[in-house]
Symmetry: D2
Subunit: 254 residues, 4 copies
């Protein structure tokens, strides 16, 4: 039996501002990356989404990012030392751990958000800071990593549990990196094409690049987006197609 | 043998701004209330002070406050629901727990900061929110409470471990409340007077009010201030006087 | 010819989070209270809305609030001195003034937001701080005030230009204060009832309380809400009803 | 008669945290770059320093930076559009303008802070955003620029008033750029050497590089640092040496 995890970024509302449809997405995904208050969310919102995720039986993950609400954690910030980045990640993991504990839940995984994730994929130093952060405060967490990046390398070198993720709606270059947003063909907008793409990656345990090159990777989880109505529909379609093909959607710790 | 805990608010620097002399105070106190990033401090600063406190053998406590750096958590904020306050406290406890875990340390206690503490002392609802927050995410923590307040009542009603604290340098009203700052005689500025005051409270297990009324309380810890050079000298003087009188300074968990 | 101003709070998005439909509301109202970055908005968002308001010929007003994004400026914050409140208001007015200047526009008015407005209505000290702030940095601005409040009194005593506002969708007590939200009958949900209510207030230059008591006031502007789809429809309905009754909607400076 | 302006970054305290000795520095410098609340300071602190600067007859300048209190505006932030950077600068200039107006003062100049200044020196796009920001909201302000940078070029191309600044305590490369901090010889620590260096630059209207290469520049202002006790002494020594050599210290607008 083939199984796969579906993960999405959830809990991205903040104070009076709403984003996404967490309830709808929690019926689709098996793992939730929950914002920890630095790039989105706040303590009350984190509590709300942890409660929903627990009730839905969805794996709960910390989604630490740069402290940048206005930029939603998508702006690269240079000039933080490795120990500052480690402390930033540990702080956010701990905050969500305590909220989970208060709800009788535990964390399953951790995934860096936005610019922090991007920088960790390209910089061995930042990658080690992120992986070490989780190892030092929560050694049982599964680290979500993009294959063929400094982040995957750091997880391997440090020897932590990891899950490799692919994107349902993004095209890849021949070296396994993502085709940059804004480039022709970078995004897969057609739900059927995205589902076929994911099914092929799972069956072949390989990414097929935009040029047709096959890059073998162990695929543990598929990232779907949930911050728009169309995204919810696309994620729902993907889940149905996977299930129709006999793939079981199940969280990482299962 | 008489023992007592000395506690102080530490780790109150933020980014480029320094406050207090944490190293000096950690040679004097046995318990440190460490700011958690909402009213002061940041993840790197919390890490620094946890490391220092662990090395000094000082009990590490979370010191959660309102999210108000500019006002240093001293402004009363109305309009948060009980569950919002609970989440706020849980978030901050968790952040410090993870930082402590990353340094191989564990938390000993929790003490609300500034306006949050003041409001919890006066409001049963806020007091229950604070005590429940700690109980739900970290049930082993000792709750520091002011005697004769809604906070002490909440700790009693909920049935958590608590330590009652008195102030070395503050005068008390006949009902056991603190004489408001700014009132004549509210502050004890003379180090010898402060030390004598504390010794008397410990020996008698009672507070003597500004009018001479004795109010029995179980005294577990004495709060000293550390955010000024004179405060460090006063705290050091107090410790020496206590030791000269045969009182052993020891952290709460000992 | 009867004329009246319609005002609404606009520009309340922040970073990646959207709120309200500014474009739709700018076709309805004649004055816009634009958030200044403390309780909502950011410099880029302020620029966007100033540009839209200028293009629509709508009067541009500063809408300063407490520095509290998470609480949307609706939490009362105690412990700021009068001079701190003055500086807070001046800072925000200046920020919007410069953005308006950069777009070739000028400010028409200022209206305190949320908890700051509520506190200014009840506290002569805070009312004077708000009115003095505007007088000191932008003496030509019109101050929006609720009639029969400390804020109106302060504007009268200090001798600044003011405009008195009533609410389209709120009921009033016999003393002219607003019936508290949550009380039976506090909100007027029916668009026709709200429009009839406003027309009566304008024609009679008086508020009619929930008990039928008439309180004479000079009515210069009517506040409508725009942060929900139904609110837009209600505001549009009100404008049409006013125009059908021969009332001209026109901004304050006209 | 030779005249020169001395400028320093002032008003860098924030909430309860103090930095530098503004009163001492205001007796030494002729122009003050006042933090605007994004990387340091707050509305009350800005008011305090504007009042002091006005009383001292010192030229008042806006010192806008990235919104990054924890990093003190020294972290480079990538991913803001040009219009976002423009709005960020305009917002901060306006805030200080209004505070100055409320104190009966006007702004003399604007100088970008920290990472924003560094990025503007290297990026024509960011340089144009900074210069255009000032031109659009406050066209009379003098723009402080480092010679031989994209920022100077932008000021020239856009045609705004500018003042070229040199550093008293920094060494220069042969291309006129600053020797990077941390490099051997990058900082001039000896007060006499710093004073001699500045005098030579003023007399020759040229920078002499660390290798002895002379780079002609029109020198309008000298930047001194004021965030440390030794810095105050060094600045005071420099002023005395300049006056002893017959140089008059005078603000830019004089």
């Amino acid at each position: 039996m083939t199984t796969i995890d579906l993960n999405a970024d959830l809990g991205e509302s903040f104070g009076p501002w709403k984003m996404g449809d967490d309830e709808a997405m929690l019926e689709i995904v098996s793992s939730a990356n929950i914002a920890c208050g630095f790039h989105a969310s706040d303590p009350a919102e984190m509590t709300r989404v942890v409660r929903l995720a627990k009730a839905a039986g969805v794996g709960i993950g910390a989604h630490p990012g740069f402290q940048d609400l206005q930029g939603f954690g998508r702006r690269r910030i240079f000039g933080m030392s490795n120990s500052e980045i480690e402390a930033l990640v540990i702080y956010q993991i701990g905050a969500l751990q305590a909220i989970a504990a208060s709800e009788g839940a535990t964390l399953q995984h951790v995934k860096a958000h936005g610019a922090l994730n991007n920088m960790a994929c390209g910089s061995p130093k930042i990658a080690h800071a992120c992986i070490n952060a989780a190892r030092r405060c929560a050694p049982d967490l599964i680290n979500l990593v993009l294959p063929n990046t400094a982040l995957e390398n750091a997880a391997t070198e440090i020897g932590v549990s990891m899950a490799r993720e692919v994107f349902a709606d993004r095209a890849y270059n021949d070296d396994g990196s993502l085709v940059a947003r804004g480039t022709e063909g970078a995004m897969i907008h057609d739900p059927d094409a995205a589902a076929a793409n994911v099914l092929a990656m799972i069956e072949q345990q390989a990414i097929t690049s935009i040029n047709g090159v096959k890059i073998p990777v162990a695929i543990d989880t598929v990232c779907v987006h949930g911050d728009a109505p169309t995204a919810v529909a696309m994620a729902r379609h993907l889940r149905r197609k996977l299930e129709d093909a006999g793939v079981t959607i199940t969280k990482l710790s299962a």
